[in-house]
């Protein structure tokens, strides 16, 4: 089992519904977020190109945040999901500094918080809330070990990239281009 997500940059309109759906689903305090939207424009008017990406924790197979955590609060569970146990987290921030994707934030209650791929939902057979809400259906989620999963299918059919591959973290968030 290897959970992964693919984001179709050709369809994403950057509406940020994924952000607010995550906030309400997971009670993320207002002013913080576990996912966010990036817009990159290249070129000179009128020869322009734009890429819009919904970004979040890359649930890296080689996760620097887990390696550097002094208490073991950051850990990897079945399916490769990177999680933080709030009660074990001392809020030292080493993981925040180590993450090349800036995917973690200090929760006002004193621990570090991040995307969980909505683990509480997927173990009940549901999709992460961002995937379920996206009006453009640009988010694909599933098990990479299952060749028939949504995410396996779309990665087989489409060109894709990962972010900052040179960091060597083996990210599991793919961007269809």
């Amino acid at each position: 089992m290897r959970y992964a997500m693919a984001v179709d940059t050709k369809k994403c309109v950057g509406c940020s519904d994924c952000v607010v759906a995550c906030q309400t689903e997971n009670n993320v305090p207002i002013g913080y977020c576990r996912d966010w939207v990036v817009e990159v424009t290249d070129g000179t008017y009128p020869q322009l190109e734009m890429e819009i990406r919904s970004e979040r924790c890359n649930h890296c197979a080689n996760a620097p945040c887990v390696r550097c955590c002094p208490t073991g609060a950051s850990h990897i569970v079945e399916g490769g999901i990177v999680l933080v146990t709030p009660t074990e987290c001392i809020g030292c921030g080493a993981c925040i500094a180590s993450c090349p994707y800036d995917a973690r934030y200090p929760h006002p209650k004193g621990y570090v918080d991040k995307c969980t791929f909505c683990e509480h939902r997927i173990k009940n057979g549901m999709s992460p809330s961002c995937v379920e809400v996206c009006p453009t259906k640009c988010l694909y989620f599933g098990d990479l070990d299952d060749p028939n999963s949504n995410v396996s299918n779309v990665l087989r059919l489409r060109k894709y990239k990962t972010l900052i591959p040179e960091a060597g973290t083996d990210p599991q968030l793919f961007f269809l281009i």
Binding site: V13, V20, T24, T41, Y45, I52, E132, V133, P135, T136
Partner: protein
């Protein structure tokens, strides 16, 4: 869905067993772990209540889920709903912020000092309603009941509209008409004999070519259309976007035509010219269904792409290529009518040109073009006839705007300012759910009109600029706290949706129906409001349709079969269009009769003077007009608007990214607050762009006050559409004011 509902029913018993105590212990024991999980999940399901969204006009149906403590947890789209297909947009998802916003209006307020200052005292509902009803009666006695007008946008409009009609006035206006989509309704009406309404019957999911003229789907989060555009992208549809700004949609387009602003008509006429002269039109369709082809052909013969190039800056080969793309996709092509189309004053004619193009391509009534929508008609509870009004707003404009099919908000505003040539002016306004100060152009004039009123009553959930001018403010509860009329609306298949309260009204706020009915009681008009509670009326209506309130509470959305017509015209179908000729009018007889050009022509519009830039405004997907900018969730996504400036312009003015500037328009009107510069290649050098709805001047909006600039404040030049009275608002030019100290003194 059926299976799932059945399962809920079964689990209800399960939950009952759990509650029954030790005697049934064995039964509980018998449940597998999986079943227990399901019951836990379903316990959540059981707490959900149906609603349809009120954050924008798309009205997507959804479910409100609550936390165990009774507070609202989240809102999720209803999978059966055609407007959203189970997926709300960020505003719908963030709709709970409307409920949780601490700045909400909490109790009725009555003004204690002259308008201009916000000095109010708290009042009881009875006192506030008595105040309004007495003023209404006084105005009716002195000037006639028709001198009271209603401005509305949203679900409350129905009840306040009925109240006004019962009182003797039909002057009910929504800025969504003459400040937004009115011109296209009239343009399409003149062509196809019917308007587009909302949601528009664009068959985007099956289109092969989608043409957007300044319409920025994806930034305007018209949910169903955004979803279908995404489906169309998946299926490889060609998107052609015409916009001086590199919009999100432009970024997804095969062709982006970075047109010189205000010249769209030249491009449209040139496309029509090519499609006719190169015989790219749908010959059978045109021959069978249209009227006036020869006149059209003659009228557009000089509009060559070379002619259009000099006006639009779009190269002739691109104009030809894109026309060919449309023709190749025909009839599965949509030249999108847009929504906010009040730009330059010739907007009805521009919409006509769009309609003509669609007619030539044979897309109206065809798969991948425009489908034939059907609306479910809810039965009307019998009530006495409304009195015939003595006068209407039209009497203020003799012989003008005959083709406008709805009241003009700007017209009522104009007719509130007394002039010697008119014997009667409006004396009372009731305003529900529309922030007129930010909605109507020319704020100075709106305020002058307000200063001439004997009564301004505002019903809203939030303090807004308009509430600051009110004599009486009535706090309406949000859509999450009330019943409302059953949602109908045009769709592929007729559907209805229920909104019911998920929670009790906060503070001392009340539902719009209750407010309207209490006013009716005070005015002796109770016979028009026989139902004490709206849910009694809903239950009666629903039972008439074969459903019930009980059923709708469970399912939220109900789908009915189409009554007769097919979704598209069939090949041999004789179609009767509701025009004078019974055909699609390429040459408009109704325009001719009213003295307007029967075929659109090109008019050059003013250009920005040296050192000024055309002010273009638009939407952001996470906000609806000026009404959501204080919503805590949506504020979190976007907390101010930025001024988009092309790098060339920035260099000329030594502007830096993030620098705050004030703006001044051609009439010397300055923005009240500074706006931060965003230097970006995504905007032309002759224009600047900002998202509408920021720069709030009401301090009671604690989050959004003073953030960004208001485009509405800078729109003082209005280009009136002579055909239907729409307010063209894209003819305003702004320059940068960099000396902050000087500006602060001036403002």
């Amino acid at each position: 869905m059926a299976n799932r509902r059945e399962f809920i029913k079964i689990s209800l018993y399960g939950a009952g067993i759990l509650a029954a105590g030790a005697g049934t212990y064995k039964v509980i024991k018998a449940l597998s772990k999986e079943e227990e999980e399901e019951i836990k999940k379903l316990a959540i399901d059981l707490k959900r209540t149906p609603t349809y969204c009120e954050v924008c006009f798309w009205k997507c149906a959804g479910w409100v889920y609550k936390n165990p403590d009774g507070s609202i947890w989240k809102i999720i789209g209803n999978e059966d709903d055609q407007n959203c297909n189970g997926r709300l947009c960020p505003r719908g998802t963030g709709g709970i912020g409307m409920y949780y916003d601490g700045d909400r209006l909490k109790t009725p307020l009555i003004r204690t000092e002259a308008r201009g200052k916000q000095v109010f005292r708290e009042a009881s509902w009875d006192e506030a309603l008595t105040y309004i009803s007495e003023k209404m009666q006084k105005i009716a006695k002195e000037h006639g009941p028709e001198c009271i007008a209603l401005f509305t946008h949203g679900s409350g409009g129905k009840y306040f509209g009925d109240l006004l009609k019962a009182f003797g006035s039909t002057n009910i206006a929504a800025p969504s008409y003459a400040q937004c989509r009115g011109p296209r309704e009239v343009g399409f009406m003149a062509t196809f004999g019917e308007g587009l309404e909302s949601p528009e019957p664009t068959d985007i999911r099956d289109t092969k070519c989608l043409v957007l003229i300044g319409s920025h789907i994806g930034e305007n989060m018209h949910n169903g259309q955004v979803q279908e555009m995404s489906d169309a992208i998946d299926k490889g549809a060609v998107i052609i976007t015409v916009d001086p700004r590199f919009s999100t949609a432009a970024g997804k387009s095969k062709y982006w035509l970075p047109i010189k602003p205000a010249t769209d008509m030249a491009l449209l006429l040139s496309w029509i010219h090519i499609i006719i002269s190169e015989e790219l039109y749908d010959k059978n369709y045109v021959e069978k269904h249209t009227y006036g082809f020869d006149q059209l052909k003659e009228a557009v013969k000089s509009y060559t792409p070379e002619w259009a190039y000099g006006i639009t800056t779009i190269k002739p080969d691109i104009i030809r290529k894109t026309a060919k793309e449309m023709a190749d996709a025909s009839p599965a092509v949509i030249v999108h009518p847009g929504r906010h189309v009040t730009w330059y004053g010739d907007d009805t004619q521009r919409s006509r040109a769009i309609a003509i193009l669609n007619a030539l391509l044979g897309s109206w009534g065809r798969r991948g073009g425009f489908f034939r929508p059907e609306t479910f008609e809810m039965p009307t509870y019998p009530h006495p006839d409304f009195p015939e009004p003595v006068r209407t707003w039209r009497d203020a404009f003799p012989g003008k705007y005959v083709l406008a099919d709805l009241a003009l908000a700007n017209g009522i505003c104009d007719a509130t300012i007394p002039v010697t040539t008119r014997d009667c002016s409006f004396k009372g306004w009731i305003v529900n759910g529309t922030n007129l100060i930010e909605t109507l152009p020319n704020q100075k004039q709106t305020i002058e009109a307000i200063q001439n009123l004997d009564l301004l009553a505002v019903v809203d959930t939030m303090p807004m600029e308009i509430t600051g001018w009110a004599d009486v403010i009535l706090p309406e509860c949000t859509y999450l706290e009330r019943y409302d009329s059953i949602r109908t609306g045009p769709a592929r298949t007729p559907q209805i949706a229920l909104r019911m309260p998920a929670v009790e009204p906060s503070n001392n706020s009340k539902p719009a129906y209750w407010i309207a009915r209490q006013l009716a009681l005070k005015l002796g008009l109770e016979k028009y409001f026989p139902h004490e509670n709206l849910e009694d009326l809903l239950d009666w209506q629903l039972k008439e349709t074969g459903s019930s309130l009980e059923e709708m509470k469970r399912i939220g959305v109900k789908t009915f079969p189409r009554s007769a017509d097919d979704l598209y015209f069939s090949d041999d179908e004789e179609v009767e269009f509701y025009t004078n000729t019974g055909k699609i009018e390429l040459y408009s007889t109704s325009f001719l009769n009213e003295g307007f050009d029967p075929v659109p022509t090109y008019t050059a519009h003013p250009e920005p003077p040296e050192g000024f830039y055309r002010l273009i405004y638009g939407r952001a997907p996470m906000h609806t007009f000026s009404r959501t900018s204080n919503n805590p969730y949506l504020f979190d996504l976007m907390d101010e608007n930025l001024l988009w400036v092309n790098p060339k312009v920035a260099k000329q003015w030594y502007l830096k990214n993030g620098q705050e500037v004030f703006l001044e328009n051609q009439d010397g009107v300055r923005s009240q607050f500074p706006i931060k510069v965003r230097i970006t290649e995504r905007i032309r050098w002759d224009s600047v762009y900002m998202v509408h709805g920021f720069g709030h001047a009401d301090k009671k909006l604690s989050r959004t006050y003073g953030r960004g600039a208001s485009d509405a404040k800078l729109i003082t030049n209005v280009m009136l559409d002579p055909i239907m009275g729409g307010t063209g608002m894209r003819g305003n030019f702004v320059t940068f004011i960099l000396d902050k100290a000087e500006t602060e003194v001036a403002s």
